[in-house]
Protein backbone atom coordinates (compact mmCIF):
# COMPACT_ATOMS: atom_id res chain seq x y z
CA UNK A 1 0.00 0.00 0.00
CA UNK A 2 1.43 3.38 -0.89
CA UNK A 3 2.40 5.89 1.75
CA UNK A 4 -0.32 7.94 3.30
CA UNK A 5 -3.11 5.73 2.14
CA UNK A 6 -5.04 3.73 4.62
CA UNK A 7 -7.99 2.10 2.99
CA UNK A 8 -11.38 2.62 4.56
CA UNK A 9 -12.13 -0.04 7.08
CA UNK A 10 -8.51 -0.84 7.81
CA UNK A 11 -6.73 0.19 10.94
CA UNK A 12 -3.53 2.16 10.35
CA UNK A 13 -0.55 0.19 11.49
CA UNK A 14 2.14 1.77 13.61
CA UNK A 15 4.68 1.24 10.81
CA UNK A 16 2.54 3.17 8.29
CA UNK A 17 2.33 6.09 10.66
CA UNK A 18 6.03 5.96 11.40
CA UNK A 19 6.79 5.82 7.67
CA UNK A 20 4.61 8.85 7.18
CA UNK A 21 6.45 10.70 9.88
CA UNK A 22 9.84 9.82 8.48
CA UNK A 23 9.00 10.69 4.91
CA UNK A 24 7.52 14.04 5.61
CA UNK A 25 10.04 15.13 8.18
CA UNK A 26 13.77 15.17 8.16
CA UNK A 27 13.88 15.31 11.94
CA UNK A 28 12.84 11.71 12.42
CA UNK A 29 15.44 11.15 15.09
CA UNK A 30 14.11 13.86 17.41
CA UNK A 31 11.46 13.17 20.05
CA UNK A 32 7.98 13.65 18.65
CA UNK A 33 6.17 16.70 19.94
CA UNK A 34 3.00 14.66 20.33
CA UNK A 35 2.94 10.86 20.53
CA UNK A 36 -0.37 9.06 20.65
CA UNK A 37 -0.47 5.31 21.11
CA UNK A 38 -3.58 3.16 20.79
CA UNK A 39 -5.79 5.84 22.27
CA UNK A 40 -9.43 4.78 22.54
CA UNK A 41 -12.46 6.38 24.06
CA UNK A 42 -15.79 4.78 24.78
CA UNK A 43 -18.80 6.49 26.28
CA UNK A 44 -21.43 4.58 28.18
CA UNK A 45 -24.95 5.28 27.03
CA UNK A 46 -28.47 3.95 27.33
CA UNK A 47 -30.74 4.09 30.37
CA UNK A 48 -28.45 2.12 32.67
CA UNK A 49 -25.25 3.13 30.87
CA UNK A 50 -24.72 -0.50 29.94
CA UNK A 51 -24.14 0.14 26.24
CA UNK A 52 -20.87 1.56 24.98
CA UNK A 53 -20.36 3.97 22.15
CA UNK A 54 -16.85 4.13 20.77
CA UNK A 55 -15.79 7.66 19.82
CA UNK A 56 -12.16 6.90 19.11
CA UNK A 57 -10.55 3.61 18.23
CA UNK A 58 -6.89 2.77 18.72
CA UNK A 59 -5.54 6.06 17.49
CA UNK A 60 -1.81 5.93 16.94
CA UNK A 61 0.01 8.88 15.44
CA UNK A 62 2.85 11.31 15.96
CA UNK A 63 3.28 15.01 15.38
CA UNK A 64 6.87 16.09 14.84
CA UNK A 65 8.43 19.18 16.43
CA UNK A 66 7.84 22.33 14.42
CA UNK A 67 5.22 20.92 12.10
CA UNK A 68 1.67 22.06 11.53
CA UNK A 69 -0.53 19.00 11.70
CA UNK A 70 -4.18 19.07 10.70
CA UNK A 71 -6.69 16.65 12.09
CA UNK A 72 -9.39 16.31 9.45
CA UNK A 73 -12.74 14.67 9.67
CA UNK A 74 -16.46 15.28 9.43
CA UNK A 75 -18.44 16.33 12.49
CA UNK A 76 -18.48 13.58 15.09
CA UNK A 77 -15.47 11.82 13.59
CA UNK A 78 -13.40 11.94 16.78
CA UNK A 79 -11.24 15.05 16.22
CA UNK A 80 -12.41 16.92 19.30
CA UNK A 81 -12.37 13.70 21.32
CA UNK A 82 -8.69 13.29 20.43
CA UNK A 83 -7.89 16.84 21.45
CA UNK A 84 -9.89 16.64 24.67
CA UNK A 85 -8.08 13.41 25.54
CA UNK A 86 -4.74 15.14 25.00
CA UNK A 87 -5.84 18.02 27.24
CA UNK A 88 -7.15 15.58 29.90
CA UNK A 89 -10.62 17.07 29.70
CA UNK A 90 -11.80 13.51 29.16
CA UNK A 91 -10.04 10.28 30.06
CA UNK A 92 -9.13 7.46 27.68
CA UNK A 93 -10.67 4.03 27.91
CA UNK A 94 -7.27 2.70 26.86
CA UNK A 95 -4.03 3.90 25.36
CA UNK A 96 -1.49 6.55 26.21
CA UNK A 97 -0.21 9.86 24.89
CA UNK A 98 2.82 12.05 25.51
CA UNK A 99 3.44 15.68 24.71
CA UNK A 100 7.07 16.77 24.52
CA UNK A 101 7.98 13.46 26.11
CA UNK A 102 5.75 14.00 29.14
CA UNK A 103 2.72 11.86 29.84
CA UNK A 104 -0.52 13.77 29.46
CA UNK A 105 -1.32 12.71 33.03
CA UNK A 106 1.47 15.01 34.21
CA UNK A 107 -0.13 18.41 34.77
CA UNK A 108 3.23 20.19 34.37
CA UNK A 109 2.96 19.25 30.67
CA UNK A 110 0.57 22.21 30.34
CA UNK A 111 3.44 24.64 30.99
CA UNK A 112 4.50 24.03 27.39
CA UNK A 113 1.12 23.45 25.78
CA UNK A 114 -1.44 26.01 24.65
CA UNK A 115 -5.04 25.03 23.96
CA UNK A 116 -7.87 26.73 22.16
CA UNK A 117 -11.21 25.01 22.84
CA UNK A 118 -13.87 24.59 20.19
CA UNK A 119 -16.39 27.44 20.36
CA UNK A 120 -14.55 29.05 23.24
CA UNK A 121 -16.52 30.65 26.02
CA UNK A 122 -14.96 32.52 28.88
CA UNK A 123 -15.98 34.27 32.06
CA UNK A 124 -18.12 36.96 30.52
CA UNK A 125 -17.90 39.27 33.54
CA UNK A 126 -14.17 39.73 32.87
CA UNK A 127 -12.43 41.98 30.38
CA UNK A 128 -9.92 40.33 28.05
CA UNK A 129 -7.01 41.81 30.01
CA UNK A 130 -8.43 40.41 33.27
CA UNK A 131 -9.00 37.02 31.63
CA UNK A 132 -5.43 36.81 30.35
CA UNK A 133 -4.06 37.99 33.69
CA UNK A 134 -6.13 35.30 35.44
CA UNK A 135 -4.76 32.54 33.22
CA UNK A 136 -1.24 33.95 33.51
CA UNK A 137 -1.38 33.52 37.27
CA UNK A 138 -1.30 29.74 36.86
CA UNK A 139 2.17 30.03 35.38
CA UNK A 140 3.51 31.68 38.51
CA UNK A 141 4.70 34.93 36.94
CA UNK A 142 4.98 38.12 38.91
CA UNK A 143 2.45 40.91 38.34
CA UNK A 144 4.81 42.99 36.16
CA UNK A 145 5.65 39.97 33.95
CA UNK A 146 2.00 39.12 33.64
CA UNK A 147 1.13 42.63 32.60
CA UNK A 148 3.90 42.70 30.00
CA UNK A 149 2.76 39.39 28.49
CA UNK A 150 -0.88 40.41 28.50
CA UNK A 151 -0.05 43.64 26.67
CA UNK A 152 2.03 41.75 24.12
CA UNK A 153 -0.72 39.22 23.47
CA UNK A 154 -3.44 41.85 23.16
CA UNK A 155 -1.33 43.56 20.54
CA UNK A 156 -0.64 40.30 18.73
CA UNK A 157 -4.30 39.38 18.40
CA UNK A 158 -5.44 42.94 17.80
CA UNK A 159 -7.54 43.42 20.92
CA UNK A 160 -5.70 46.37 22.52
CA UNK A 161 -8.57 48.74 21.88
CA UNK A 162 -11.14 46.31 23.26
CA UNK A 163 -9.16 45.54 26.40
CA UNK A 164 -11.62 47.22 28.78
CA UNK A 165 -14.78 45.74 27.31
CA UNK A 166 -16.37 42.84 29.18
CA UNK A 167 -16.25 39.57 27.22
CA UNK A 168 -20.06 39.34 27.25
CA UNK A 169 -20.05 42.18 24.73
CA UNK A 170 -17.56 40.52 22.38
CA UNK A 171 -18.44 39.25 18.92
CA UNK A 172 -17.65 35.67 17.91
CA UNK A 173 -14.51 36.78 16.09
CA UNK A 174 -13.28 38.82 19.03
CA UNK A 175 -13.87 35.89 21.39
CA UNK A 176 -11.88 33.65 19.08
CA UNK A 177 -9.01 36.12 19.16
CA UNK A 178 -9.18 36.27 22.96
CA UNK A 179 -9.13 32.47 22.97
CA UNK A 180 -6.05 32.43 20.75
CA UNK A 181 -4.36 34.95 23.02
CA UNK A 182 -4.87 32.77 26.11
CA UNK A 183 -3.64 29.73 24.18
CA UNK A 184 -0.29 31.31 23.26
CA UNK A 185 0.08 33.61 26.27
CA UNK A 186 2.85 31.49 27.80
CA UNK A 187 4.80 30.98 24.54
CA UNK A 188 4.06 27.25 24.45
CA UNK A 189 6.11 24.85 22.35
CA UNK A 190 2.98 22.95 21.34
CA UNK A 191 -0.27 24.67 20.41
CA UNK A 192 -3.46 22.62 20.13
CA UNK A 193 -6.36 24.33 18.40
CA UNK A 194 -9.81 22.77 18.21
CA UNK A 195 -11.64 24.09 15.13
CA UNK A 196 -9.89 27.49 15.28
CA UNK A 197 -11.63 28.83 12.15
CA UNK A 198 -15.09 27.67 13.11
CA UNK A 199 -17.73 30.36 12.76
CA UNK A 200 -15.32 33.05 11.61
CA UNK A 201 -15.83 35.33 8.63
CA UNK A 202 -13.18 35.28 5.84
CA UNK A 203 -11.25 38.08 7.50
CA UNK A 204 -11.23 36.32 10.86
CA UNK A 205 -10.14 33.07 9.22
CA UNK A 206 -7.30 34.83 7.51
CA UNK A 207 -6.16 36.35 10.81
CA UNK A 208 -6.17 32.93 12.47
CA UNK A 209 -4.30 31.45 9.52
CA UNK A 210 -1.68 34.19 9.82
CA UNK A 211 -1.23 33.47 13.50
CA UNK A 212 -0.80 29.74 12.82
CA UNK A 213 1.79 30.51 10.14
CA UNK A 214 3.57 32.85 12.55
CA UNK A 215 3.63 30.10 15.18
CA UNK A 216 5.15 27.77 12.62
CA UNK A 217 7.75 30.39 11.72
CA UNK A 218 8.64 30.61 15.39
CA UNK A 219 9.28 26.87 15.37
CA UNK A 220 6.28 25.86 17.42
CA UNK A 221 4.32 22.68 16.83
CA UNK A 222 0.68 23.20 15.93
CA UNK A 223 -2.00 20.53 16.00
CA UNK A 224 -5.38 21.73 14.87
CA UNK A 225 -8.64 20.12 13.96
CA UNK A 226 -10.78 21.31 11.13
CA UNK A 227 -13.32 20.20 8.60
CA UNK A 228 -12.41 23.09 6.29
CA UNK A 229 -10.13 21.31 3.86
CA UNK A 230 -8.80 24.38 2.11
CA UNK A 231 -7.41 25.60 5.44
CA UNK A 232 -5.70 22.27 5.96
CA UNK A 233 -4.22 22.27 2.46
CA UNK A 234 -2.96 25.80 2.93
CA UNK A 235 -1.44 25.44 6.39
CA UNK A 236 -0.53 21.86 7.14
CA UNK A 237 2.75 20.04 6.69
CA UNK A 238 0.79 16.87 7.29
CA UNK A 239 -2.77 15.91 7.88
CA UNK A 240 -4.45 12.96 9.53
CA UNK A 241 -7.93 11.99 8.42
CA UNK A 242 -10.25 10.61 11.09
CA UNK A 243 -13.55 9.10 10.08
CA UNK A 244 -15.86 7.16 12.39
CA UNK A 245 -13.35 7.34 15.25
CA UNK A 246 -10.57 5.74 13.23
CA UNK A 247 -7.50 7.23 11.62
CA UNK A 248 -7.79 6.59 7.90
CA UNK A 249 -4.71 8.29 6.53
CA UNK A 250 -1.70 10.36 7.50
CA UNK A 251 0.57 12.33 5.23
CA UNK A 252 1.30 15.59 3.49
CA UNK A 253 -1.85 16.94 1.83
CA UNK A 254 -0.26 16.70 -1.64
CA UNK A 255 1.00 13.19 -1.10
CA UNK A 256 -2.31 11.96 0.21
CA UNK A 257 -4.16 13.00 -2.89
CA UNK A 258 -1.22 12.45 -5.26
CA UNK A 259 -1.24 8.72 -4.92
CA UNK A 260 -4.67 8.67 -6.43
CA UNK A 261 -3.80 10.63 -9.60
CA UNK A 262 -6.23 9.34 -12.15
CA UNK A 263 -5.50 10.49 -15.68
CA UNK A 264 -4.71 13.57 -17.74
CA UNK A 265 -6.55 16.65 -18.86
CA UNK A 266 -5.91 18.48 -22.16
CA UNK A 267 -7.10 22.00 -22.84
CA UNK A 268 -7.10 23.06 -26.52
CA UNK A 269 -8.58 25.40 -29.13
CA UNK A 270 -9.58 24.66 -32.70
CA UNK A 271 -9.04 27.27 -35.41
CA UNK A 272 -11.57 26.14 -37.99
CA UNK A 273 -15.12 25.02 -37.41
CA UNK A 274 -16.55 21.78 -38.74
CA UNK A 275 -13.52 19.63 -37.98
CA UNK A 276 -14.36 16.21 -36.61
CA UNK A 277 -12.18 13.58 -35.02
CA UNK A 278 -12.66 10.88 -32.41
CA UNK A 279 -11.31 12.87 -29.48
CA UNK A 280 -13.64 15.80 -30.09
CA UNK A 281 -16.62 13.61 -29.20
CA UNK A 282 -15.23 13.18 -25.67
CA UNK A 283 -14.39 16.87 -25.14
CA UNK A 284 -16.54 19.48 -23.41
CA UNK A 285 -16.62 22.98 -24.89
CA UNK A 286 -16.45 26.11 -22.76
CA UNK A 287 -16.40 29.27 -24.86
CA UNK A 288 -13.81 28.70 -27.56
CA UNK A 289 -11.92 26.12 -25.55
CA UNK A 290 -12.22 22.37 -25.38
CA UNK A 291 -11.40 20.26 -22.37
CA UNK A 292 -10.89 16.51 -22.49
CA UNK A 293 -10.04 14.04 -19.73
CA UNK A 294 -8.51 10.69 -20.54
CA UNK A 295 -6.35 7.89 -19.08
CA UNK A 296 -2.60 8.57 -19.03
CA UNK A 297 -1.96 5.69 -21.46
CA UNK A 298 -4.05 7.41 -24.15
CA UNK A 299 -2.26 10.76 -23.87
CA UNK A 300 0.14 10.47 -26.80
CA UNK A 301 -2.51 9.07 -29.11
CA UNK A 302 -4.75 12.01 -28.25
CA UNK A 303 -1.94 14.51 -28.81
CA UNK A 304 -1.33 13.00 -32.26
CA UNK A 305 -5.00 13.46 -33.13
CA UNK A 306 -4.97 17.07 -31.99
CA UNK A 307 -1.79 17.76 -33.97
CA UNK A 308 -3.34 16.27 -37.07
CA UNK A 309 -6.45 18.38 -36.61
CA UNK A 310 -4.34 21.53 -36.24
CA UNK A 311 -5.53 22.19 -32.71
CA UNK A 312 -3.71 24.63 -30.47
CA UNK A 313 -2.84 22.86 -27.19
CA UNK A 314 -3.11 25.24 -24.24
CA UNK A 315 -2.24 22.88 -21.40
CA UNK A 316 -1.71 19.27 -20.47
CA UNK A 317 -2.12 18.52 -16.79
CA UNK A 318 -2.17 15.50 -14.53
CA UNK A 319 -5.57 14.94 -12.98
CA UNK A 320 -5.36 14.72 -9.19
CA UNK A 321 -8.30 14.58 -6.87
CA UNK A 322 -8.50 17.40 -4.35
CA UNK A 323 -8.13 16.74 -0.66
CA UNK A 324 -11.88 17.19 -0.52
CA UNK A 325 -12.46 14.32 -2.95
CA UNK A 326 -10.02 12.14 -1.04
CA UNK A 327 -11.80 13.04 2.18
CA UNK A 328 -15.27 12.46 0.76
CA UNK A 329 -14.24 9.05 -0.58
CA UNK A 330 -13.21 8.02 2.92
CA UNK A 331 -16.41 9.36 4.45
CA UNK A 332 -18.55 7.60 1.83
CA UNK A 333 -16.67 4.35 2.34
CA UNK A 334 -17.17 4.62 6.08
CA UNK A 335 -20.90 5.26 5.69
CA UNK A 336 -21.22 2.34 3.29
CA UNK A 337 -19.42 0.09 5.75
CA UNK A 338 -21.59 1.29 8.63
CA UNK A 339 -24.81 0.61 6.72
CA UNK A 340 -23.51 -2.81 5.62
CA UNK A 341 -22.89 -3.70 9.28
CA UNK A 342 -26.34 -2.42 10.18
CA UNK A 343 -27.98 -4.53 7.45
CA UNK A 344 -26.05 -7.68 8.40
CA UNK A 345 -26.91 -7.02 12.07
CA UNK A 346 -30.59 -6.85 11.20
Amino acid sequence: MPFGSIAAGERPCRECVDDASRLSNNSSMSIAAIEIENLSKEYPHGFLHLKKKRSLENLTMEVQPGEVFGLLGPNGAGKSTTIKLLMRLIFPTSGTARILGKSIEDVSMHQQVGYLPEQPYFYDYLTVAELLDYFARFHGWKAADRQERVERMLKKVGLETARKIQLRKYSKGMLQRAALAQAILHDPQVVVLDEPMSGLDPLGRREVRDIILELKKEGRTVLFSTHILSDAEMLCDRVGVIVGGRLRGVGAPGEMVGIQAHGMEILFELDGAGKTFALLGKATKTGERYRVQLPEAELYCALDQLKAAGARILSVAQLKPTLEEFFMNLVDADRAQASAIEVSGQ
Partner: protein
Protein backbone atom coordinates in the same frame (compact mmCIF):
# COMPACT_ATOMS: atom_id res chain seq x y z
CA UNK B 1 -1.64 27.33 47.02
CA UNK B 2 -1.07 29.94 44.30
CA UNK B 3 -3.48 28.17 41.96
CA UNK B 4 -6.13 27.74 44.66
CA UNK B 5 -5.89 31.43 45.52
CA UNK B 6 -6.16 32.44 41.85
CA UNK B 7 -9.36 30.41 41.40
CA UNK B 8 -10.77 31.58 44.75
CA UNK B 9 -10.19 35.27 44.07
CA UNK B 10 -11.76 34.94 40.62
CA UNK B 11 -14.77 33.16 42.11
CA UNK B 12 -15.14 35.99 44.61
CA UNK B 13 -14.90 38.53 41.78
CA UNK B 14 -17.55 36.60 39.84
CA UNK B 15 -19.93 36.65 42.82
CA UNK B 16 -19.45 40.38 43.29
CA UNK B 17 -19.91 41.17 39.59
CA UNK B 18 -22.90 38.85 39.28
CA UNK B 19 -24.52 40.99 41.99
CA UNK B 20 -24.78 38.20 44.55
CA UNK B 21 -24.25 40.80 47.28
CA UNK B 22 -27.44 42.60 46.23
CA UNK B 23 -29.23 40.44 48.81
CA UNK B 24 -27.72 42.80 51.38
CA UNK B 25 -30.10 45.52 50.24
CA UNK B 26 -33.03 43.22 50.99
CA UNK B 27 -31.55 42.38 54.37
CA UNK B 28 -30.96 46.05 55.23
CA UNK B 29 -34.57 46.92 54.35
CA UNK B 30 -35.84 43.96 56.40
CA UNK B 31 -33.80 44.99 59.43
CA UNK B 32 -34.78 48.66 59.22
CA UNK B 33 -38.45 47.78 58.83
CA UNK B 34 -38.29 45.31 61.71
CA UNK B 35 -36.57 47.81 63.99
CA UNK B 36 -39.25 50.42 63.35
CA UNK B 37 -42.11 47.93 63.69
CA UNK B 38 -40.75 46.15 66.75
CA UNK B 39 -40.26 49.48 68.49
CA UNK B 40 -43.99 50.07 68.17
CA UNK B 41 -45.49 46.68 69.01
CA UNK B 42 -43.27 44.82 71.44
CA UNK B 43 -42.87 45.61 75.06
CA UNK B 44 -39.46 44.94 76.53
CA UNK B 45 -38.54 42.18 74.08
CA UNK B 46 -37.37 44.36 71.20
CA UNK B 47 -33.79 43.16 71.47
CA UNK B 48 -34.77 39.50 71.51
CA UNK B 49 -37.06 39.90 68.48
CA UNK B 50 -34.47 41.84 66.48
CA UNK B 51 -31.71 39.30 67.23
CA UNK B 52 -33.94 36.32 66.39
CA UNK B 53 -35.19 37.89 63.20
CA UNK B 54 -31.73 39.07 62.15
CA UNK B 55 -29.99 35.76 62.78
CA UNK B 56 -32.78 33.84 61.06
CA UNK B 57 -32.49 36.11 58.01
CA UNK B 58 -28.68 35.79 57.95
CA UNK B 59 -29.02 32.03 58.11
CA UNK B 60 -31.81 31.75 55.51
CA UNK B 61 -30.21 34.10 52.98
CA UNK B 62 -26.86 32.38 53.51
CA UNK B 63 -28.37 28.92 52.99
CA UNK B 64 -30.00 30.01 49.72
CA UNK B 65 -26.72 31.46 48.44
CA UNK B 66 -24.72 28.44 49.64
CA UNK B 67 -27.00 25.93 47.93
CA UNK B 68 -27.82 27.72 44.68
CA UNK B 69 -24.43 29.29 44.02
CA UNK B 70 -22.56 26.35 45.55
CA UNK B 71 -24.21 23.97 43.07
CA UNK B 72 -23.47 26.35 40.21
CA UNK B 73 -19.78 26.73 41.07
CA UNK B 74 -18.69 23.64 39.17
CA UNK B 75 -21.75 22.79 37.08
CA UNK B 76 -21.97 26.25 35.50
CA UNK B 77 -18.32 26.06 34.49
CA UNK B 78 -18.91 22.66 32.90
CA UNK B 79 -22.12 23.73 31.20
CA UNK B 80 -20.65 26.95 29.80
CA UNK B 81 -17.32 25.22 29.10
CA UNK B 82 -15.34 28.01 30.75
CA UNK B 83 -13.51 25.19 32.47
CA UNK B 84 -11.90 23.86 29.30
CA UNK B 85 -9.32 26.59 28.88
CA UNK B 86 -8.65 26.69 32.61
CA UNK B 87 -7.95 22.97 32.97
CA UNK B 88 -5.54 23.17 30.04
CA UNK B 89 -3.35 25.35 32.28
CA UNK B 90 -0.95 23.84 34.80
CA UNK B 91 -3.65 23.46 37.43
CA UNK B 92 -4.85 20.29 39.13
CA UNK B 93 -8.55 19.58 39.29
CA UNK B 94 -8.53 19.35 43.08
CA UNK B 95 -6.97 22.82 43.17
CA UNK B 96 -9.88 24.06 41.07
CA UNK B 97 -12.42 22.49 43.46
CA UNK B 98 -10.73 23.97 46.54
CA UNK B 99 -10.37 27.36 44.85
CA UNK B 100 -14.04 27.52 43.91
CA UNK B 101 -14.97 26.48 47.43
CA UNK B 102 -12.67 29.06 48.98
CA UNK B 103 -14.06 31.78 46.73
CA UNK B 104 -17.66 31.16 47.73
CA UNK B 105 -16.80 30.86 51.41
CA UNK B 106 -15.01 34.22 51.13
CA UNK B 107 -18.13 35.70 49.50
CA UNK B 108 -20.36 34.23 52.22
CA UNK B 109 -18.04 35.55 54.92
CA UNK B 110 -18.25 39.07 53.49
CA UNK B 111 -22.00 38.76 53.06
CA UNK B 112 -22.51 37.44 56.56
CA UNK B 113 -20.24 40.11 58.06
CA UNK B 114 -22.13 42.87 56.25
CA UNK B 115 -25.45 41.43 57.48
CA UNK B 116 -24.09 41.26 61.02
CA UNK B 117 -23.26 44.97 60.81
CA UNK B 118 -26.86 45.56 59.64
CA UNK B 119 -28.16 43.54 62.57
CA UNK B 120 -26.12 45.59 65.03
CA UNK B 121 -27.40 48.82 63.47
CA UNK B 122 -30.98 47.61 63.91
CA UNK B 123 -30.20 46.64 67.51
CA UNK B 124 -28.73 50.07 68.09
CA UNK B 125 -31.93 51.63 66.75
CA UNK B 126 -34.09 49.89 69.36
CA UNK B 127 -31.70 50.26 72.28
CA UNK B 128 -28.54 52.20 72.80
CA UNK B 129 -25.93 51.97 74.01
CA UNK B 130 -25.24 48.33 73.15
CA UNK B 131 -24.26 46.00 76.00
CA UNK B 132 -21.46 43.51 76.38
CA UNK B 133 -23.93 40.61 76.05
CA UNK B 134 -24.77 41.82 72.55
CA UNK B 135 -21.35 40.54 71.54
CA UNK B 136 -22.77 36.98 71.68
CA UNK B 137 -24.55 37.78 68.43
CA UNK B 138 -21.15 37.66 66.74
CA UNK B 139 -20.61 34.11 68.02
CA UNK B 140 -23.95 33.08 66.59
CA UNK B 141 -23.04 34.69 63.26
CA UNK B 142 -19.72 32.81 63.25
CA UNK B 143 -21.50 29.50 63.83
CA UNK B 144 -23.93 30.30 60.99
CA UNK B 145 -20.92 30.88 58.74
CA UNK B 146 -19.51 27.46 59.72
CA UNK B 147 -22.85 25.91 58.81
CA UNK B 148 -22.85 27.68 55.46
CA UNK B 149 -19.31 26.49 54.74
CA UNK B 150 -20.48 22.94 55.31
CA UNK B 151 -23.50 23.40 53.03
CA UNK B 152 -21.29 24.79 50.22
CA UNK B 153 -19.05 21.71 50.47
CA UNK B 154 -22.08 19.42 50.17
CA UNK B 155 -23.49 21.41 47.24
CA UNK B 156 -20.15 21.15 45.45
CA UNK B 157 -19.91 17.42 46.04
CA UNK B 158 -23.32 16.77 44.54
CA UNK B 159 -22.73 19.10 41.60
CA UNK B 160 -19.59 17.13 40.73
CA UNK B 161 -21.55 14.04 39.73
CA UNK B 162 -25.15 14.98 39.06
CA UNK B 163 -27.31 17.61 37.39
CA UNK B 164 -27.71 21.03 39.03
CA UNK B 165 -31.39 20.35 39.75
CA UNK B 166 -30.67 17.08 41.52
CA UNK B 167 -27.69 18.62 43.31
CA UNK B 168 -29.95 21.36 44.72
CA UNK B 169 -32.49 18.73 45.71
CA UNK B 170 -29.90 16.50 47.41
CA UNK B 171 -28.22 19.36 49.23
CA UNK B 172 -31.57 20.69 50.44
CA UNK B 173 -32.60 17.21 51.58
CA UNK B 174 -29.31 16.64 53.42
CA UNK B 175 -29.69 20.04 55.09
CA UNK B 176 -33.20 19.29 56.32
CA UNK B 177 -32.17 15.80 57.45
CA UNK B 178 -29.11 17.31 59.14
CA UNK B 179 -31.25 19.74 61.11
CA UNK B 180 -33.15 16.77 62.52
CA UNK B 181 -30.09 14.52 62.97
CA UNK B 182 -30.09 15.06 66.73
CA UNK B 183 -33.79 14.11 66.96
CA UNK B 184 -33.13 11.00 64.91
CA UNK B 185 -30.37 9.99 67.31
CA UNK B 186 -32.47 10.42 70.43
CA UNK B 187 -35.73 9.19 69.00
CA UNK B 188 -37.58 6.54 71.02
CA UNK B 189 -40.41 4.72 69.26
CA UNK B 190 -42.05 1.49 70.33
CA UNK B 191 -43.43 0.54 66.95
CA UNK B 192 -40.08 0.65 65.09
CA UNK B 193 -37.99 -2.52 64.93
CA UNK B 194 -34.70 -2.36 66.90
CA UNK B 195 -32.69 -3.04 63.73
CA UNK B 196 -34.33 -0.08 61.98
CA UNK B 197 -33.62 2.09 65.01
CA UNK B 198 -29.97 1.08 64.85
CA UNK B 199 -29.84 1.96 61.17
CA UNK B 200 -31.48 5.34 61.77
CA UNK B 201 -29.06 6.05 64.59
CA UNK B 202 -26.15 5.14 62.30
CA UNK B 203 -27.49 7.47 59.62
CA UNK B 204 -27.84 10.26 62.17
CA UNK B 205 -24.11 10.05 62.91
CA UNK B 206 -23.20 10.22 59.23
CA UNK B 207 -25.47 13.19 58.53
CA UNK B 208 -24.04 16.62 59.27
CA UNK B 209 -25.55 17.78 62.54
CA UNK B 210 -26.65 21.30 61.65
CA UNK B 211 -28.41 21.79 64.98
CA UNK B 212 -24.92 21.95 66.53
CA UNK B 213 -24.52 25.37 64.96
CA UNK B 214 -27.86 26.76 66.13
CA UNK B 215 -27.45 29.05 69.14
CA UNK B 216 -30.00 31.63 68.03
CA UNK B 217 -32.41 31.11 70.93
CA UNK B 218 -29.61 31.26 73.49
CA UNK B 219 -28.16 34.45 72.06
CA UNK B 220 -31.59 36.08 71.57
CA UNK B 221 -32.15 35.74 75.29
CA UNK B 222 -28.82 37.36 76.06
CA UNK B 223 -27.14 34.20 77.27
CA UNK B 224 -23.54 33.35 76.36
CA UNK B 225 -22.31 30.48 74.21
CA UNK B 226 -19.77 28.11 75.83
CA UNK B 227 -16.30 28.40 74.30
CA UNK B 228 -16.09 24.60 74.17
CA UNK B 229 -19.06 24.49 71.84
CA UNK B 230 -17.44 27.04 69.54
CA UNK B 231 -14.21 25.03 69.33
CA UNK B 232 -16.05 21.75 68.89
CA UNK B 233 -18.22 23.20 66.14
CA UNK B 234 -15.19 24.70 64.40
CA UNK B 235 -13.38 21.37 64.47
CA UNK B 236 -16.50 19.46 63.43
CA UNK B 237 -17.23 21.77 60.48
CA UNK B 238 -13.59 21.76 59.32
CA UNK B 239 -13.32 17.97 59.48
CA UNK B 240 -16.69 17.33 57.85
CA UNK B 241 -16.07 19.89 55.08
CA UNK B 242 -12.57 18.47 54.48
CA UNK B 243 -13.99 14.96 54.02
CA UNK B 244 -16.76 16.18 51.72
CA UNK B 245 -14.35 18.30 49.67
CA UNK B 246 -11.90 15.41 49.37
CA UNK B 247 -14.75 13.30 47.99
CA UNK B 248 -15.76 16.13 45.62
CA UNK B 249 -12.17 16.49 44.38
CA UNK B 250 -11.89 12.72 43.84
CA UNK B 251 -15.12 12.58 41.86
CA UNK B 252 -14.27 15.67 39.82
CA UNK B 253 -10.73 14.44 39.09
CA UNK B 254 -12.16 11.53 37.10
CA UNK B 255 -15.07 13.38 35.53
CA UNK B 256 -15.22 13.51 31.75
CA UNK B 257 -16.08 16.98 30.46
CA UNK B 258 -18.19 16.51 27.36
Amino acid sequence: MRNIWAVASNTFREAVRDRVLYNLVFFALLMMGAAILVGQISMGIEESVIVSLGLTAISAIGILIAIFIGVGLVSKEMEKRTLYALLAKPVERWQFVLGKYGGLVMTLALNTAAMAVGLYLALWMVKHPLEKSDGYVLVAVYLILLKLALIVALAMLFSCFTTPFLAILFTGAIYIAGVFAEDLRTMRAVDIAPSTMKLLRGVSYVLPNFENFNVMATVAHGRGVPATLVWQDTFYAALYAAIVLAAAAMVFSRRNLK
